[in-house]
């Protein structure tokens, strides 16, 4: 089966905006990603060191009487993102194993860089109280000053570092 083309970016943006608007109109808040991913990480760490996680000054907010770290709107939303991604990739004939990288970088190096970049993002998203979804998209649409500062900083950080990792992509 041949691959379906991607949507025109402006059209995709409008549809994404309607999903975001729908979330605001139904639940009163927008989208998120890193918060859900963090909760999965905390639940994983809790299996190995429950005391250390529960007494941690930052993670303790996820625990308490009647609370479960995974019983959270964002966790289910992120599970939905995964399901929606599978649905999208499958129905477009794009569901296949692969590694995205430029022609001049080895697979091992690309995977190592993906982990390193991910660590930066995980740390940064907690520091900023959200990522491109929860801050840039959601807070951007809600006209939050901090979210707009965050969004401009994301693009700045990306452009500053892009020349250093050119070999990974080009």
């Amino acid at each position: 089966m041949s691959e379906r083309p991607f949507w025109n970016p402006y059209v995709a943006g409008v549809v994404l905006g309607l999903v975001l608007l729908g979330s605001f109109l139904v639940m009163g808040f927008g989208l998120g990603s890193s918060g859900g991913v963090t909760r999965f990480a905390v639940a994983g760490a809790h299996l190995f060191a429950p005391k250390a996680v529960e007494t941690n000054a930052y993670f303790s907010q996820y625990f308490g009487p009647g609370k479960h770290v995974l019983e959270d709107w964002l966790v289910f939303e992120v599970l939905g993102v995964f399901l929606g991604g599978v649905l999208g990739a499958y129905s477009a004939g794009r569901l296949k194993l692969g590694i995205e990288k430029g022609p001049r970088v080895t697979t091992a190096r690309r995977l190592a860089l993906a982990v390193v970049g991910g660590i930066f993002m995980g740390f940064a998203a907690r520091l900023a109280r959200g990522c491109t979804s929860g801050q840039a998209l959601t807070g951007g649409a809600a006209l939050s000053l901090g979210s707009w500062v965050f969004m401009m900083a994301v693009f700045t950080g990306g452009y500053l570092v892009a020349p250093l990792v050119r070999r990974e992509w080009r």
């Binding site: 402006y10 520091l127 998209l137």
Partner: protein, 393 residues
């Protein structure tokens, strides 16, 4: 027209229905991200080499769509903006977090949401990126101690740009539309320069699509501006002044986020001068009273209190452009809930004990008294609570 949105205010969703809605919203989100091409790192990285500014186009179109949609719906009185959760602003950690996240984005090739879509599409580098995000989140939590000061710096509470500028939301929305279209056209110009240099064809959008999308944005923004003239706008505002805040909730906010509050003592000068809630402002007498709150920075919430019960809000407080709360029970409520030592619960369940511990910690904080001895919890069936309200990414 009656305010009917957002829907959650009608108590339609229990815990599990809410989680189901979350899953459905997520499915739509993930599907669109995949169709936008965001499951592939090279499509995302191209933004930073300017060969394809797809990230900019999708993100800003999405922001503009949701923004003009909310602006118009609230303009015609269908949506109550006060019920929408706006992420709070903490300027410095958000600036530094943004720079770090942008750096991580180009190095890993994904952001957290698109990384999940990459995994869903079968891209193994997505697993590596999301694994990294998990490690980074844990690193933040375990390094939180020394970071806490910076994490809470630059706190401004809910700082909406339209309120900071003191202009209607529709005006800012129209400006954002103009800015976004400018950025789109600029991005296309840059693609036309950088894509051929990299031996690629610049991605062209059909003029018909662009005309419809840009024209649609402009049309909705214009309608939202026109809605400013509607009389329903004025009618929707007074309902907002009815919000209340409990004394314990206020005490907790005073400890954790004093920078997000204005506290106004409405009692006569002598009573307020004798004793008042820490940080409270005394209202000036006479004509100045009507004007003073209108001059306060509206990004904070204003909490007003009288001697007891619901105080009559003077005009000056009503004119405050931000959110206004009335303290339940007034100063008497504050005295009995915070300044009086809480009584240890007779029948301690985890919930009751948690409330008692909070009350006694706040009592100690505001009076200097010793914290009450801990209460032993006897095993009881725990009551499940609803999902935490609020965004956060």
């Amino acid at each position: 027209m009656a305010v009917t949105l957002p829907l959650y205010t009608h108590d339609l969703f229990g815990t599990y229905a809410g989680l189901l809605v979350g899953t459905l919203v997520g499915i739509a989100f993930g599907f669109v991200l995949e169709r936008a091409g965001f499951g592939r790192a090279r499509n995302l990285a191209a933004q930073f080499y300017l060969t394809d500014t797809r990230v900019l186009k999708v993100m800003f179109s999405a922001i503009v769509t949701a923004l003009v949609g909310m602006t118009l719906l609230s303009g015609i009185g269908v949506l109550d903006l006060a019920q929408i959760t706006v992420p709070e602003t903490f300027l410095w950690p958000q600036l530094v977090g943004g720079l770090l996240l942008g750096a991580g984005f180009i190095v890993s090739g994904y952001c957290p949401g698109t990384g999940v879509v990459a995994i869903a599409s079968g891209n193994l580098d997505g697993i590596a990126a999301i694994g990294g995000v998990m490690l980074g989140s844990l690193a933040f939590g375990f390094g939180y101690g020394p970071l806490e000061g910076f994490y809470k710096s630059g706190g401004m509470g809910v700082a909406r740009i339209d309120r900071l500028l003191g202009v209607p939301m529709a005006v800012v929305a129209a400006a954002v539309v103009a800015m976004a279209v400018g950025a789109f056209l600029g991005g296309e110009k840059l693609e036309a320069i950088f894509a051929p240099r990299a031996g690629e064809t610049a991605p062209a959008s059909p003029p018909r699509v662009k005309a419809r999308v840009f024209g649609g944005f402009a049309a909705i923004a214009a309608l939202a501006l026109a809605a400013l003239a509607l009389p329903t706008r004025g009618a929707a505002t007074p309902a907002r002044t009815a919000q209340t805040i409990g004394p314990l909730e206020l005490a907790r906010e005073l400890v954790t986020a004093p920078e997000t509050l204005w506290i106004v003592d409405l009692r006569p000068g002598a009573a307020a001068a004798k004793e008042r809630i820490p940080g409270a402002m005394v209202t000036p007498p006479g004509d100045a009273r009507a004007a003073f709150a209108a001059g306060l920075n509206p990004t904070r919430r204003l909490v007003a209190y009288g001697a007891s019960g619901a105080a009559d809000l003077p005009d000056g407080v009503r004119k405050f452009p931000g959110d206004v709360y009335v303290l339940e029970g007034g100063f008497e409520g504050w005295t009995s809930a915070v300044l009086t030592a809480p009584v240890p619960p007779a029948n301690p369940t985890p919930d009751v004990v948690a409330r008692f511990q909070l009350a006694s910690a706040l009592h100690a904080r505001f009076t200097g008294a010793a914290v009450a001895a801990p209460v032993e919890i006897r095993p009881v069936v725990s009551v499940p609570t609803g999902p935490r309200k609020g965004g956060g990414c």
